[in-house]
Amino acid sequence: MTMLELSNVTKIYAQGKVHVTALRDVDFRVDSGEFLSIAGPSGSGKTTLLNLIGCLDVPTKGSIVLEGQQLAERSKTQLAKIRRDHLGFVFQSYNLVPVLTAIENVSLPLELMRNMTKKAVRERAERTLTDVGLAEHLHHRPNELSGGQQQRVAIARALVKEPSLILADEPTANLDSETGEAILQLMWT
């Protein structure tokens, strides 16, 4: 079943009078359950593409359909709602909220969705953190965790709401090769 479909997606950035084309006529399709990697040299538009798919930006031209929903011409609030309900993000530099503990960071997306009781949120967050091997670190703040552990929390945060699509932008770039391998393994499973 098609979960994501991009047709003729073009993104042009205007930098003063200069127009930079970051993406030109991109077409592809992703099915449910598929694990897809996008590779390319620096500046080739990988992050731009993820931003468009992640509803963080809108294409200059073309259409993006996520789970049957056309993303073009959506308001900021509607895009925020799609991000909240359907997408999970894993960033290169983890981007955990520093004032929240691991379990609070993982609970955050569920609390934003507002459709679960406090108890259910907590149980789900705890289970997800246990799944990524952080059962012992539930109440640690990000600054008390290693880079690998922080990225596991970030993955748990992306997974916890069981989104349709998880977008990971170079999730292992800041990790050593061994930890990076473990993280990729975790994402596969």
Binding site: L56, K76, K81, N95, V97, V99, L100, S107, L108, L112
Partner: protein, 408 residues
């Protein structure tokens, strides 16, 4: 949802605790000053009002309009016979006590120096029914018909007088002839009303005889019971019945118009202080929220990437502004309550024995008052101004593009 926003807001405030504490302290200081200065001004106004009533005017007085229009007029041109009113006034239930006074200009000599004073002929028997003058008396009170004088403490100090000294009171009679009265100082008055301390008091009958004024007085002072308004109206109608257009009944507020104008101006001070408080709150909170938003740009991007709406991000920052407003206002109110309790219970004496001057009928110890409207108002304004000040920077912070924010 509100739970997580509140949690985020308060943790972020604690994260920047130095800035938060400084902003809260600035706000607390503003609130504290508003409450304490109000208490101080309120206390001064209340005490001054009490001094006027208890030492100068009584609750209501009958007097010639000319004397009220020009309080410096010490002539005997507008005296009246109070016996015209006394029978009617005694029948009024509202009038609980009354006493006549005769005010005139005089010069007091101690044999070496002299001093221009306001002399007051008072009825030694009925004056204490209306005025509390005797509470501040060192020595003896006057006796009817005697060649005695009670002098204000300031006059006594200036002329170096003590009880049982003899002085000469030089004045002019109703016919403008000089009259010198040889009087014994029987008491010295040291009151909290500076004007009283600059006056001298003699027995009314002796003054009337000496000035050639048979039964005439310059003012009739009354203490009233029950509603001051209805008492004033009843007394006014008694004056009107006498068809005396030169005389009128005056409440103490009307009689002390200059003081009332000054008391009214304290409201302007309140407005100014409140404006300063709002300014402190706005500057502090805007600064705190703008800096917080700048430092947490990337976090804002992450929260928006996770689906937090602009409204929710705004809400989070406004909650921070509320937090600053609440803590700052509460701290200010608490400190002010403690200080004000001391002011109300023990008072302070900021000027020593100095008179405040400028016509302020007040001297010595000053006490604060509890003005719960201002206390609650300052607390609410502190919070409201903080929240309102936080809205614009919060909207600015929330409006950041998530892509731009994540790149920071």
């Amino acid at each position: 949802m509100a739970g997580i926003l509140t949690k985020l807001a308060f943790r972020n405030l604690w994260r920047q605790r130095r800035r938060t504490i400084l902003t809260c302290l600035a706000l607390a200081f503003g609130i504290y000053m508003v409450i304490i200065l109000d208490s101080f001004v309120g206390g001064m106004t209340e005490m001054a009002g009490r001094n006027i009533v208890q030492l100068q005017t009584g609750d209501v007085q009958i007097q010639a309009h000319a004397y009220v229009d020009d309080p410096t007029d010490r002539s005997l041109d507008h005296v009246f016979a109070y016996s015209d009113f006394t029978d009617d006034l005694r029948q009024l239930d509202q009038v609980s006590a009354m006493t006549p006074r005769l005010s005139f200009a005089a010069e007091l000599h101690n044999g070496m120096d002299d001093y221009h004073v306001r002399a007051m002929g008072v009825d030694p028997l009925t004056d204490p029914d209306v005025f509390t003058t005797q509470q501040y008396l060192a020595g003896q009170w006057l006796e009817p018909g005697q060649q005695q004088v009670v002098v204000g403490a300031r006059v006594a100090q200036l002329l170096d007088l003590t009880v049982s000294d003899y002085v000469i009171l030089l004045t002019r009679t109703a016919n403008n002839a000089f009259q010198a009265l040889d009087l014994e100082v029987v008491g010295i008055l040291d009151t909290p009303h500076p004007e009283v301390n600059l006056a001298v008091y003699v027995p009314l009958d002796m003054a009337q005889t000496s000035l050639g004024l048979d039964q005439a007085i310059t003012s009739l002072h009354m203490t009233v019971s029950g509603s001051a308004k209805s008492a004033y109206e009843a007394i006014s109608s008694v004056v009107e019945q006498q068809n005396s257009t030169a005389l009128g009944a005056y409440t103490w507020e009307q009689a002390a118009e200059d003081f009332m104008v000054m008391a009214q101006s304290s409201r302007a001070i309140h407005s100014m202080l409140l404006s300063m408080l709002i300014l402190i709150a706005i500057v502090g909170v805007v600064n705190a929220i703008l800096l917080g938003a700048m430092e947490r740009t990337r976090e804002i991007g992450v929260l928006k990437a996770m689906g937090m709406s602009e409204r929710e991000v705004t809400q989070e920052f406004v909650t921070e502004a509320f937090g600053i407003g609440f803590v700052g206002s509460a701290a200010g109110v608490l400190l002010a309550l403690l200080t004000n309790w001391f002011l109300v219970e023990y008072g302070i004496n900021p000027y020593g024995d100095m008179d405040l001057g400028a016509g302020i009928p007040l001297r010595g110890h000053l006490y604060g008052v509890w003005n719960w409207t201002i206390i609650a108002g300052a607390f609410m304004v502190g919070i409201l101004a903080s929240v309102l000040a936080g809205i614009v920077p919060a909207i600015r912070a929330a409006g950041k593009s998530p892509i731009w924010a994540l790149r920071q």
